[in-house]
Symmetry: C2
Subunit: 413 residues, 2 copies
């Protein structure tokens, strides 16, 4: 059946996840395909934030650390995120920025393999991951070796006995390619190395199973598929078997075994609490907590299932409507090899995206020529997908994007 | 004139800062003397947060990074905090937790003095400062030497030519003692070392002048005297003369000279933007921004002036009402030697504080035997001070704190 708006409508009518769109405060007239960068506002969050600000902070004041259990929030929310990535309780904590968690966790990972002098990372890994790997390596006197999934096995052979950590992204931030978490973790382990994953573009998007896959350590961002809000705090997963030996460089007082003893020396908490660093950003953290409920209720598997169907529908629309207009889908078509966003190359990507935004279709651009379009089954409809492709067709075929007012500065995270 | 509630009333009636109390949403029946830990809710914050959540995030979505200038917020808010600590524009940035900023800044400070192998810190410094100094020293192969203000000069002599950084708190988190920022900075400089300050208990409380005092680097917390909200992000000050050489270990992508180039290697921004690390916690950051206005309008000097007068009134009340009840003021009485909170020793401090809280008088406890009572001139009244001391008198003289229900767990930051 040829992709059309009528087909989109019928698919939406039969979509069991369609009611979840009402759990997000999406504005009228917007097709939001940028949930891979900033998830939309969950409808429950404004009320919760108002309570957190006016009642918890305003009325309970310092007492809220006990009464409202702000103190436990990093581990309480951590356990909820843990369930979304296949982690049993007590292995996930929330706090700080993803960049900070990458550094802290990577240094600790390397220290779990003393004497090994190589950190392996992925050549297409998000820049901050690579910058922080370089910084950690410099402080520890290690060498960073960049690989791709194709060259990883050879690199591990070449550096046999030397690799401390393999640090990979589960989903490529730019192309949307999905890496084989279980397979690469296994490769790392065969080489005697630890496997550390950046789940930023995977958690909530694809069914990650950190415990089952034997992952050692992981970090991730919560403002993408978890809709935690702009700059919501990151999370760290540390497999229970590593926690007692985890020697983290960011020895903040919240990670102390007895923080309120105000002891002279740092003694890390015996469990996942040792990954805590400074005082949690409570407003951002509690917005994140309130944001998780719709995804938990729908279930990652169901969201993934619909996202893949949206992807098939998108590819069908693109094949029939965008041929000859300069677009090229750079994301693997194989559903087993892609995450939840599509990378679509176009030589004038910035201008095309600006024109799309003027038409209410919101995605973003990376590497100058890549449009990113995220099809999150939790709130994106088949009609959204058809509308977006129709807008791409209209813009590229009429040259609307060449009007001079579309040379805007792009700043997105 | 003997301290009394009548005198308190007349002092309040003549207090030019009295109207500022209405800028804070303090609950009825509460005497809030814990602003050294968590500042109260500024009245303007709930409306701003509602706008940030519903309109900026909810309606503008990813576009808010440009339209609402979320991207610039860390430096925009940084400059406002800079003005409160005597820093000219372009030297202060906001983001991450205080613990993270301590580590990042301290490593960079040590790298500015290559070849010198000693970090000097203060023996009573807040635990997280000392834990992170130890961690930074370990990564860099340095030694930490703990001093007091009295032993600092001798330690600098003993380690002549070896000290890279002197890292001190401007106000002691426990005793409330105020250190001589200009004098200690000068001592450090004479020894060829850099002076780095933790301003957490000083910014907004006492007139700090980082530029005029020749301070090299500083970090601080914003949820105390700046009332930014629970876990609001920290700030870092780096004197302009050091910025181009500042070699920070947390090379997050927001600190890159051109973050959206997604370049292979980390090239730090040429200015204070290089202190940026990960994506800012926007909700917590914009609450902080909205919180600063009353303090800016009142001016730190006026707030300090009133706080000192509140302190004199408090000492007068304590002298006349608490004698023989087991209380001992541990904070220097000399106004030039104290910050904005008083440390009052009592052998049953936890139970006394719990009984005070049951009477609506909120402070906190440190080191088991120290009651901390913060007299912030921006919103604390003379009547509050008298009410608090009267409650201390009532509790200690009747033994009300010995009732078994006051053995509560204390968790405060």
């Amino acid at each position: 059946m040829r992709p059309s708006s009528a087909l989109a409508k019928s698919l939406d009518a039969a979509d069991p996840l369609a009611p979840f769109r009402a759990d997000f405060a999406l504005p009228e007239g917007v097709v939001y395909l940028n949930g891979n960068s900033l998830g939309p506002l969950p409808a429950a969050v404004p009320g919760v934030m108002d309570d957190v600000v006016r009642r918890q902070w305003g009325e309970r004041l310092i007492r809220a650390w006990n009464d409202e259990d702000w103190w436990s929030a990093p581990l309480r929310v951590g356990d909820r995120i843990g369930r979304l990535i296949g982690a049993a309780a007590g292995q996930t904590a929330v706090g700080e920025s993803t960049s900070v968690q990458i550094f802290n966790t990577l240094v600790a990972a390397a220290r779990l393999r003393p004497g090994r002098r190589v950190l392996v990372t992925e050549a297409g890994n998000f820049p901050t991951d690579r910058y922080l790997a370089a910084s950690a390596a410099r402080l520890l006197g290690l060498e960073v070796v960049e690989t791709t999934a194709d060259t990883l096995a050879a690199a591990l052979d070449r550096h046999a006995g030397e690799v401390a950590v393999v640090f990979y992204p589960a989903v490529d931030y730019c192309t949307g390619a999905l890496w084989d978490v279980a397979g690469i973790t296994d490769l790392a382990h065969r080489a005697g190395a630890l496997a550390m994953w950046d789940l930023s573009h995977a958690a909530g998007a694809v069914p990650v199973q950190v415990d089952a896959d034997g992952v050692d350590l992981a970090v991730g961002c919560t403002y993408k598929y978890l809709s935690g809000g702009p700059g919501s705090p990151a999370y760290v997963y540390a497999a229970a078997r590593h926690q007692a030996a985890l020697d983290l460089p960011l020895t903040g007082w919240h990670g102390h075994a007895r923080p309120f003893d105000m002891a002279d020396g740092f003694e890390p908490a015996p469990d996942i609490a040792r990954t805590r660093i400074g005082t949690p950003h409570v407003l951002s953290l509690l917005a994140l907590e309130a944001a998780l409920e719709p995804l938990e209720r729908a279930g990652v598997a169901a969201v993934r299932d619909k996202s893949l169907k949206l992807g098939e529908f998108f590819l069908g629309c693109a094949d029939s409507m965008l041929t000859g207009l300069g677009f090229e889908v750079a994301t693997p078509r194989d559903p087993l090899r892609r995450g939840n966003h599509f990378a679509v190359r176009h030589p004038e990507a910035h201008a095309v995206m600006a024109a799309l935004k003027a038409r209410g279709v919101i995605g973003d651009v990376r590497s100058s020529t890549v449009l990113r379009l995220c099809l999150n089954g939790l709130y994106v409809s088949y009609t959204d997908v058809h509308t977006a492709v129709a807008a791409m067709q209209e813009v590229a075929s009429t040259g609307a994007h060449r009007a001079p007012d579309f040379q805007v500065r792009e700043v997105v995270t």
